[in-house]
Symmetry: C2
Subunit: 125 residues, 2 copies
């Protein structure tokens, strides 16, 4: 006999996924813009393996997906139901923050780092 609460388990699982401050912040970032791991690492100030672990949890739950671009891996939000919950909890994304990629000094990805310019220092020979 199936348990009456089984109906609620998938919903509870999604809530549980959001019930973690780091994952929640990652999702709040990703709903504005796809981001690479190094960007999240810099924004959250957590070690890279830890970010990667949480991204795996989100990926295996089908909430985010990744796309390689050169050396970097960009994650983006794919689950509309999760976006709905984020809107309900955190409010809708402010239009002026959507697709706005802030430059993080600790992020080295090509979309963050300013293009390199030659820097020549003259010294006495």
């Amino acid at each position: 006999m199936t348990n009456p609460a089984d109906f609620y388990t998938p919903y509870a699982d999604r809530f549980k996924l959001l019930g973690h401050p780091v994952r929640l912040q990652i999702l709040d970032d990703l709903r504005r813009n796809p981001e690479c791991v190094c960007h999240l690492e810099a924004a959250l100030r957590r070690p890279q393996p830890y970010i990667s672990q949480q991204l795996r949890v989100l990926r295996e739950a089908g909430v985010v997906a990744d796309r390689k671009d050169g050396l970097n891996v960009y994650y983006h939000l794919v689950d509309p139901q999760t976006a709905t919950l984020l809107n309900a909890a955190l409010g809708p994304v402010l239009p002026e923050t959507r697709n706005l990629r802030e430059k993080l000094p600790d992020c080295t990805c090509p979309k963050c780092a300013p293009p390199l310019v030659a820097e020549i220092t003259l010294v006495e020979s």
Copy 2:
């Protein structure tokens, strides 16, 4: 120095609260109608101490409140933000199920039990 994710902790805590099938079902019941513990016990088919424990978690989080009425204790939803999340996840309450108290055969509270009528059986003496 405060952690950047601290901003998200209160939101994550609320999600965590909903991230449990039994608590979620309790809240889904309570958003329709205040219910006594015995009613939830019968609806969820779980032992009474277990229901009471989950109610305590919800109560201490400020999501539900209780009101005594005679021998029974009725719980009701008090947090509008939680109601918003329930709507976003489970959909709005169908109007025809609001304030509809189903009679549960295992619930003995006065609002559930049909009023007693005399039942007289004649037997041969």
